[in-house]
Symmetry: C2
Subunit: 165 residues, 2 copies
């Protein structure tokens, strides 16, 4: 059962969640990032039900996150690889992992983390910055209408600005 | 209907998705970030079904993302505010928004974006960096077992390292 689609909602967050908001989807992308490339590979490492995996892989290919090709060595087998939009999702996964590792594991510490391949030191916490490189905190930031903002959305942002939040 | 829980899975990404992998959940956090504080406020801006909203708010309070108090001016009303773990989710939302804005809207451009409140310029794209501040690309990064890695997970990382991905 799929939840409501946010396809018509004018918000980059909602639209991103429409594509990758399903937990299995992001875990498949995580696996693809670290080298899993076949149906059986995903099925074993994720312990994901067959029909769920079939549906999610099809979806990810349709949306340009993964691309698929036939294995040259075994023509019955398909190879799944991250396409460009999929590769760029690694920043989303990093943000999720840093948050999960910080808040979900208490004193035992995290089971795994992303690290520099050469130095083996963990990736530094992601820091939002303005265009001149200065750090931004949540309270420094507001939401602004973009080129595709609907009149309704613009009105909402005006109300937001008026109450100063 | 809730999907399978990843509570036992030793992965910060999976555990984060367990808490915030539901699309409504992250949209409620987005609203809270930009000033919505009441049940009716969330219901109107998100057009979310009442019972879904009730369940998600309870869940977010249970998990320490939101905290709730009684409105001093109207004691029948509850005020929901982001707790510390909830505030830190803004980096996850920013990563999602930047990805969604980049890949989901084509030539029309995004409907909204996060920006510096004072300069009105958009937040710079998040850049993963190592501990000395150098930029990291996906290919520079690997997954490393943490203090709470299970033997099974350690074996998987050894296999990953062996094939050089």
């Amino acid at each position: 059962m799929r939840r409501k689609s946010f396809e018509g909602v004018p918000c980059g967050i909602a639209r991103a969640l429409d594509v990758v908001g399903d937990a299995w989807t992001l875990l498949i992308v995580r696996e693809a990032m670290f080298g899993t490339r076949t149906f059986d590979g995903f099925r074993k490492t994720l312990a994901i039900p067959r029909n769920t995996l079939t549906a999610r892989l099809r979806d990810l290919v349709d949306r340009g996150i993964l691309r698929v090709r036939v294995d040259a060595d075994d023509r019955r087998r398909r190879i799944y690889e991250l396409d460009r939009a999929g590769r760029e999702l690694w920043v989303v996964l990093l943000a999720l992992q840093q948050w999960g590792n910080r808040w979900m594991f208490g004193e035992t510490g995290p089971p795994s983390y992303m690290a520099d391949r050469e130095t083996r030191r963990s990736v530094a916490p992601l820091v939002p910055r303005d265009r001149s490189g200065a750090k931004l905190r949540l309270q420094d930031v507001t939401m602004i209408p973009g080129p595709a903002a609907t009149p309704e959305l613009k009105a909402r942002f005006r109300r937001l600005a008026a109450r100063g939040t």
